[in-house]
Symmetry: C2
Subunit: 366 residues, 2 copies
């Protein structure tokens, strides 16, 4: 038995197709007697109600919005930042009875469920890797979208935090505590999955905006405090434990004067760094102070609780979803704040560091 259609019901009930449609969608427009006849006919041939695919084709609305990420679904569901973002979006979806789906724009594949094939009313773009590929794809698709953490996007909504200012605040906290030799754990700077030390040449080629802005912010604070750029080492990581471990191994290589403090561009990395340092026998904050970024829930529960930059991730999700549904196209910048916990303490005394300064100069990376 083939699946019953509106038309089949119409024929059996002896009414027009439009009437059957009305019975299901606007019953109040149909006389009761007739309505019941139609319903009876529907039941008789096992009609399950109007097929959504047809409805969407005609109406153009699917009541579904997508969060697009340039990572795997699995990644985003397990990343604290991703979870919070989703959670915020979900709140709005709940309130509006809108569905939520995740689109992975990981590979360049166009098959399956992708930006080009997803049946949705709009996108929220989250570029972990601050690329603008997603923006390009979304634009091509011609659906409304809001970009998160991608800076201003002409013709679309955007929600951000002021990364540069926030990063400066984090770095200022450290310089205020007297730290002068500082290591930076940076997020990826492009989509090449590269890890390693960052020199000026590399800095000049950064294509993702988040790491660039934060790096600039850190530098702002260093300049204010007259920190010698030669005492700052930057390592590009992948926001996972292995690459952070690698960074720590390099920064804290034996025979080399190591940083007294670390600035991490995500709490995930900061926490990974704590672990790596512990395995090397170094204690946080006694041997090394660490400032994270994001203030994920784990940051507070960690030991020691992490000093970090709080950014309202869930709120980002909420705002993005609301903007998308309301069709707004502003660029909104959400506030951040420094949360001081126990992972940062004053740098070791001047004397000690002065002595250190007379020792042979360390390799200089930046």
């Amino acid at each position: 038995m083939k699946k019953a259609r509106l038309k089949d019901v119409a024929v059996l009930a002896g009414v027009s197709q439009g009437t059957v449609s009305n019975v299901f969608n606007r019953p109040e427009l149909v006389r009761e007697e007739l309505r019941e006849r139609v319903l009876a006919a529907a039941k008789k041939i096992g009609f399950r109600g109007p097929a959504p695919a047809g409805r969407v084709l005609r109406s153009g609305r699917s009541n579904l919005i997508a969060l697009v990420v340039d990572a795997s679904l699995h990644y985003i569901l397990n990343d604290p930042f991703g979870q919070k973002l989703l959670s915020g979006i979900a709140e709005v979806c709940d309130a509006e009875h809108i569905g939520l789906t995740i689109v992975s724009a990981d590979a360049e594949r166009r098959d399956g469920w992708s930006i080009e094939s997803a049946i949705v009313d709009g996108f929220i773009l989250f570029c972990i890797t601050e690329d603008n590929t997603l923006v390009e794809l979304a634009r091509r698709r011609g659906l409304p979208f809001v970009a998160v953490d991608s800076g201003e996007v002409p013709g679309a909504g955007a929600v951000d935090v002021d990364d540069r200012t926030a990063a400066a605040e984090a770095a200022r906290h450290l310089t205020g505590l007297g730290h002068r030799r500082i290591g930076i754990l940076s997020l990826e700077m492009d989509d090449k999955e590269r890890t390693g030390l960052v020199d000026e040449a590399r800095f000049a080629t950064i294509s993702y905006t988040t790491p660039r802005s934060r790096l600039l912010g850190y530098r702002d604070a260093f300049a204010e405090a007259d920190v010698d750029p030669a005492d700052v080492v930057v390592y590009e990581c992948l926001n996972d434990a292995p690459s952070v471990e690698e960074a720590i191994r390099v920064m804290f290589a034996p025979g080399r004067e190591h940083p007294t403090a670390l600035l991490a561009m995500s709490d995930t990395m900061a926490l990974a760094a704590c672990g790596a340092l512990a395995r090397m026998g170094l204690s946080v904050p006694h041997d090394v102070s660490i400032v994270g970024f994001d203030d994920v829930p784990e940051a507070e529960r960690a030991s020691p609780p992490l000093t970090t930059i709080r950014q309202p991730v869930e709120e980002k999700g909420r705002v993005a979803a609301r903007m998308l549904l309301a069709g707004e196209r502003e660029h909104r910048v959400l506030p951040t704040s420094l949360v001081v916990r126990a992972s940062t303490i004053p740098a070791p005394s001047e004397k000690r560091s002065a002595r250190a300064a007379r020792e042979p100069a360390p390799v200089q990376d930046l």
Copy 2:
């Protein structure tokens, strides 16, 4: 300018609609020269590629599967169990290039994105509240589905753990440690959002299968160990902190001999109970032993680390997704195991507890 359609491109390029379709979907079937002409025409009128809605209508496939929950999206994204389940499903979706969406069947609303309106290839049903409403709705929709934690479902796939046996193992652990007065923190037993003590009458009316099975399992173990049913108190909670707090207040009311151990039907509740007990000045495990259920990631990190029943939640997700995509309809039961950590210790000796019973009740703060 109206949106360009396949047909418009066809007209402009002077070919048939079918050919244009082929250019986009099976380019190898079209002669190169012609293909380029079509592509040029498409670009000229700003055709963005075949619209997914049309494709879906015709092909009947959307490449999207849904996790259906009878809760809000926000809830499921923040519940550790839900996160794990999603994570497992996501792994399979990633591998198959299939999309993932969450459908909330919370209210009885039929508008927006619901079981009846979602454009998907199939459902994974997760009934926190072991109702069979979802099964009914899914069946009516006529799409393939797999039910998680709902017992065997005729004509559909199902994946479960053996709740009764697992619960018995948890309870046996406690009786083996000498505990005889035991409190049970139960999940909801129906969709009424009721909380409170559970007597035989209530027990008889349980409509959700998970709490029933687990309660039966606990009883199995109590019977084996000759625990007096009168020493067992069951409290129905809502899997959240407030209702657990309420349960704890009742079970540990002043002037009453309190349980020496607690069986919680979820780690979420077990952890909430730890918190509530701590606020009352009672220590886990010294004053009260606790066994959870699920073994969520937090269970291991908690202090004290939680003794619990491990169930392979992520695997449930993976298996369910694979079954759905493969069209399998078996009933698969996944293994569980007892994980003994530090939240359970032997019961206080018979003598000591007898003495304690004669002492004045301690001051209680909550």
